[in-house]
Symmetry: D3
Subunit: 149 residues, 6 copies
């Protein structure tokens, strides 16, 4: 659904202050470290990298803008990056997207989130989303086992 009739470049500039408040989170672990620890993570990260290279090559203006907004969503801000990665995990589990679950569970792990915290996030998704999310839950637990086990 479209939204406002006259979004302007000026409008974006006026919130520079908010932009400054956001910053990249500090990761405790690299993607490479995670890929060595977990075979599920490695397969996911490899496939994502290969497919994203193809999307990047297409150089589609709106895809790049969307990826940029997406990237900014999970930076440190009013809420810590790790909380927002866990929120991404909850949303991905409710909406039942395995790739998205793997992405956010790995990001949360890299930011130092504990296994108990990941499980509580998955519990919110399970109760909100119902038994239809259980196949995702099972695969998420398999990843958690490889990461934290």
């Amino acid at each position: 659904m479209s939204t406002s009739t006259e979004p302007t470049a000026t409008a974006e500039r006026s919130s520079e202050r908010s932009a400054q408040e956001r910053k990249e989170p500090t990761y405790l672990f690299t993607e490479k470290y995670v890929a060595e620890k977990s075979e599920i993570a490695r397969r996911f990260l490899d496939s994502r990298e290969r497919l994203n290279a193809n999307v990047d090559k297409a150089n589609n203006f709106l895809v790049k803008r969307f990826y940029n907004v997406d990237h900014n969503t999970y930076l440190e801000g009013a809420l810590p990056a790790k909380v927002k990665e866990l929120m991404g995990l909850v949303a991905s589990t409710c909406l039942r997207c395995d790739d998205c679950i793997f992405y956010h569970a790995i990001q949360a792990y890299r930011l130092g989130v504990t296994r108990a915290e990941q499980e509580e996030a998955l519990n919110v998704a399970m109760v909100v989303g119902g038994s239809i999310v259980i196949p995702q839950l099972r695969r998420a637990y398999e990843l958690l086992e490889e990461l934290y086990g």
Copy 2:
């Protein structure tokens, strides 16, 4: 799901060419005209304006960025704006969002889309989305009746 690790401002600049190719569509009718023709449209447009004013006041950086990407999606481009508004109508009907349906059906009307074209778009949504979209279909037909009847 987050997307790429290093989106940069430079990346956005490199597609200036694509940006130039997009342009605002030419509307045959104003929102005011539509609101006078259809009571359903009027109620929707009034409520949307009132609620958007409140969102604008919050001045949230990411909301504004997202609205901007959203706005750019429906401009004239490789596909005519009217085709993309009808695509927005199909997506909104499949995902069963009455407000989104009203928005795109009105936009399509303002761009000169015929009733038969709107009905064919709704047919795609009905067949893809199933009988669960029939309540949306009924309300869409009520709006079409007011706009074209």
Copy 3:
């Protein structure tokens, strides 16, 4: 998603046998009776009749075909009509469509389904669909109270 490349009229004819096995169910109660018993049912049935009249007037070929397939789905067959109406109730609750829930709960009632059976169908939907369906569940119980209370 489209489906087969060459559907033919002949193909439809070849299953005349199956068509004969289906037949209209016998309703214990008329819609009028239900509308007098329950205010929620009355409002839903009136609004549905009014909006369907508008759809009928449009005389859209594919809408009529789709309505016809839909109608045939709930006839007596290998499964009793009342079981299929309850399945429609489960699907409608999982997919969170209030109008669809009202429709199938009323149909089930008209076919003699008990309140306990309706509640068990709603339980399947609640467990499969999760807490996000609870607002629908609450409104369904309000209707059940008016119909059976």
Copy 4:
């Protein structure tokens, strides 16, 4: 969505009567028998067992509670277990979860549901859910062919 402010242990006790009315269904076939008859079923059941073992090991309190509610949903009650397994099949097909479809189609088979009954349940899901469920329908028919063919 959370639900009531003060659920108590006592509240649960008060419905012991209802609990007594539910009982385990009688299966005509074991999972082992089904796995020998159908390769699709065997792969699904093996993978589910392996992944569930991992979830069980985590011993998460709320997951166990949820699994327990889920298990109770499909017992014999006001509706026969086989009708509720078919309802689970309808819900799983509408919500497009292959694993869930395999699970409920196998359970229904084990309880003596006929192929014609399974097909009618799938028809309800197809009409409610639309052509987007056709990939699931195709895979469900492949399983039915192995089980009943």
Copy 5:
């Protein structure tokens, strides 16, 4: 989708430790206070109370069990209650349930969550869920304005 073949009462007992770790959160504000501050909140809370009374009266065993699991999900635990209420908000927004959004936004407010934190949670939902959630976003901002404005 059903889950494990033999859930036992004993299984539940073995995690008593986890159960002890959870506890009710401390609310800074009562529902009554919120209802006086916001007309949207008041209407939602009144309607929810009235409809829940009707569900409670039905005394359905599985509904009560489900409500109980749901209630336990949002207690203080490995993650603070306020983070889990915000996760409930994200899930509710992605899945586009106005009642659920109102519920969790109110709960988060009662636990002392700031407006900036609520907006960041809504941003995660907006980016994950897309423009189809914008009607929900608009109504959520209207509630935030009444609560914090």
Copy 6:
């Protein structure tokens, strides 16, 4: 949700005129050509053919009727077939069905749709559907690369 109380064979006949206006589109490329050009397309088309053969064998009356309605939806009409195939692509991407995306992207390619047009359709789906559709977007771009690259 069921729809109208008395659909009749006569009702269908009355719209023969509309039926005559629809006609099969002219494909620039055969499925065989596409399968030779793209490995992803080949695997999809082979698997779809194999599974559809199994569905056809079952000869289910309502499945055939539904496939027929589905087939008619994408014929030349008030909107060109290629626009409707792109609408099918948008709907499939929003609803996140890889098989359906492959089907409609291939159909659009066979009708002469350009890569830029396919990307714009995917952009509408990405903005309406949010980041949760990005895994689908990546796989769609992989197919586009094989078809147009």
